[in-house]
Amino acid sequence: MFAIEKLILWIPALPLLAALITALLGPKFLRSTCHIPAIIGIGASFLFSLLLLTEVRREQYAAPAGGFERIVPVWTWANLDGAYEFAEGAQPPHSVPLRIDVVMRIDALTSMMLCMVTFVATLVAIFAAGYMHGDRGYWRFFSYVSLFVFSMTMLVSVSNFVLLFVFWEAVGVCSYLLIGFWYEKPEAAAAGKKAFLVNRVGDFGFALALFLIWTTYGTLDFHDRGDPASGVSDSADVAAVDTVSGSPSVVARVAAPPVVGGVAAPGARSETVGVLGKSRIASGGYVGGALGFAICALLLLGACGKSAQFPLHVWLPDAMEGPTPVSALIHAATMVTAGVYMVARCTPLFMASPDAQVLVSCVGGFTALLAGLIALTQWDLKRVLAYSTVSQLGFMFLGLGTGTLAGITAGMFHLFTHAFFKAVLFLGAGSVMHAMGNVIDMRRFGGLRRIMPITYGTFLIGSLALAGVPPLAGFWSKDAVLGAVHDKLHAYEHQFELRQAQGGPVSSEMTEPGHSPMGGLGALTDGQLMCGIQAYGWLYYAATLTAFLTAFYTFRAFLLTFHGAERVPHEAHGHAHESPASMTFPLMVLAAAACVVGLFFDQTYNSSLPSGQRHSFAAFLASAPQLAAGLVGQTPALDAFHLSVAASSVLVAMAGIGLAMYLYLGDTREVRVLASLFNLDGFVQALDVRRVFAWRWVLALDGAARRAGLGSVVTALGYLLGGVLIIVSAPLLVGMYLSPYRLSQRKFYFDELYDWAIVRPLRGVSALLASADRWLIDSLVNLLGAVPAAAGAVLRRLQSGLVPFYALAMLLAILLLLASQL
């Protein structure tokens, strides 16, 4: 059979090899065949990933409780003895080495992500071979894409926080390079810079989180070092940390002297226990409280940067300046899901801090709603899809934040299905752009369904999947997320009622069996419980509203593009046509995948299947150690099919689609009425003082009054009127700039807000510092440099070039020296 330890190394190695070949040979030899190494490399990587997936599936049945994972050490990057001193409260005080191993891991989460990434990347590479044909930077494009696939596959398969950070940055660099791919275009260069800088904010949080993890747990490895097959339980070494009163001093007990067997070497104590290792998960050695919350919140900040969540979501829509295949691959399907992957991987850390989980859910739900509202009014097809991506990523975070196994797998399932249908939609948009001569404004084209039948069909499937129409992929995953939130809310309410009945906090035995004390609701305080009920309640309705908005804006874009009167911009030069086969083939494959993945993996509706096999995707993911070992709440069961939730979400999706069809099919007069209504046009007009006060009439009155000798009265009236006008015009301004339509159209003014609050002050400070540097520091240095020049100007006069003069100077100097010796 295939050695999975070899496979996991080949999967990232092949795209890296393709990137190197393309970069070295591309400009000189390969030229217009640069796509071949990339497609072969990434395609082979996909096949290996599939093999890996099947092997993992086979192995996980034989795996012991606690889930299946395989650790593949490659080499040791750094090993510093005594890098950190656990001084306070440690028994005895000891130091831990900073050891960074380049270690790959194989488990369900990794193999799932690998398959998804390489599958989408292969199809996007094939698509790009047609889309980018004839571009000057053809080799550059495929080199970057291969490099990205290498970085992304490494990102999901390393087993160390430092390496996760390294490849986190590597995918960021690839994203930057590809957003600014057409760097001659100022917008593209600016968008690349913006993406990079906004991501720095997130990465700052991520780095701080790593520092905190290091000082708290004394290691940055995910796994337990040592022989994983030997099954040595280090739980004796690991202190069961009280999650409520968790503090660093308690954690320091992790380093208790070794007691296992008496043969354990003195050095092999706590360093074998990884942050996310099985033994720590089994013993629940996680820090809660403020420290745990800080770690989780900072990790979340990093995830927000990469996955474009609320405070840091502004870069993703601008990233659409890059080539469309890049938008499909990096900014829809893969890289932006790195944050979701990271939060899912760090599930044990988040389990220790219920507040952080609520925060994750709130950020996700709020972002989903915000981006959905913005997407309603955008005219740029790719930008609609970009906001839709932000919104769907919000859904994923919403699922992860529930902290139940069903919720986390639902979030990951949404990640999985979203990759397919969003890739279809983006590639479809690319196909449209290709035919329309790079025009992407939906006002300038329409009715393309006859010109581009294949793009039309695949885009329709993608839209239906995104809108959440059964039985397409998006329905199952979105329904799972909604159901998980619903169940979480229900569980909280149930717990609250129990407490009301008992008149006090319920002890942990009262909660459902299968819960560790950490994950259980019994550990929550009443305040946390109330807060959670509030938050999840709101989030459920916000998510349902977002589902409606999603259906509406998706079909708005779809109908504007493909239905209505046939309109083609002049940039298409009159020969708008269906795209070549290399572009339609990936579209069809992805559309087919978007049709079946939901139905195939999620068969919760099928009660004839035995329990535990109905949701094969979630059951597979649940074998990842971070999700397996009883840490995550197991209720509700994965097999639950929420009929009421499903029915409501289908109803909502249908309502959204129906509304879009009513508004955008045929006469679009209603759209204009609605737009003016939401733009508060009537309100603005009613308050338009120019109509109320015709100036001629006012002036005539004024003249008459003055002639009658009432000048002072008129002046007083004028001031009064002026004051009234100022008061009246305030809501007028609000109506003009802050009407719902304007807010949505201008993206809630986030760009302007950040520009005024952050960018401009920073620019001002840096301009100040630059001038200080130029005038103060530089002039000091120049002054110093002027001293030798001035001395030279004096001494220069001595250089006469006359030999007798030099001889005399020598003589006099020698005499001087002699005289000084006397």
Partner: protein
């Protein structure tokens, strides 16, 4: 004063005189050949003092060193005279003030305002080897004496 010291003293006086004469000549004269001769004279002054010290210490180190010096000075004389001949062939001048090229850029050249009037009958040129070409005098700028 003992005999040996007296003897050393005489040597040093003679050597010092020869050295001083050479030095004065080197500074005061402008003819390249004369300057070279003066430099050699300074060398000989040093040689005399070395010989004197050698005798004073009753060791032959000083004398030996002087022999080396004579040999080296002969080589040096060959090179220096060859250079002087080359310079003369290039410009027809032996005046050291003619070669002021190493002065600071932009600085005005030294011009000797006190050129003595030369008598007509004395303008015969040094006899060079047959291969030498008789240089023509730069009539435009008689800033340097043809003979020094």
């Amino acid at each position: 004063m003992p005999e040996a010291s007296q003897q050393l003293f005489n040597y040093l006086i003679v050597g010092g005189l020869v050295f001083a004469l050479g030095m004065i000549g080197f500074i005061a004269r402008r003819n390249l050949i004369v300057m070279f001769l003066c430099a050699e004279m300074m060398l000989q002054g040093v040689s005399i003092s070395l010989v004197g010290w050698g005798r004073y210490h009753d060791r032959l180190g000083g004398q030996m060193l002087v022999l080396f010096m004579i040999a080296v000075a002969a080589c040096e004389a060959g090179i220096a005279l060859a250079l002087i001949v080359m310079l003369y062939q290039k410009s027809g001048k032996l005046d050291v003030a003619f070669w002021q090229g190493v002065r600071e850029e932009g600085r005005a050249a030294f011009v000797d305002r006190n050129v003595p009037i030369e008598r007509e009958q004395e303008d015969h040129w040094p006899r060079l080897t047959p291969a030498g070409i008789e240089p023509t005098l730069d009539e435009e700028a008689p800033l340097h004496r043809s003979r020094v």
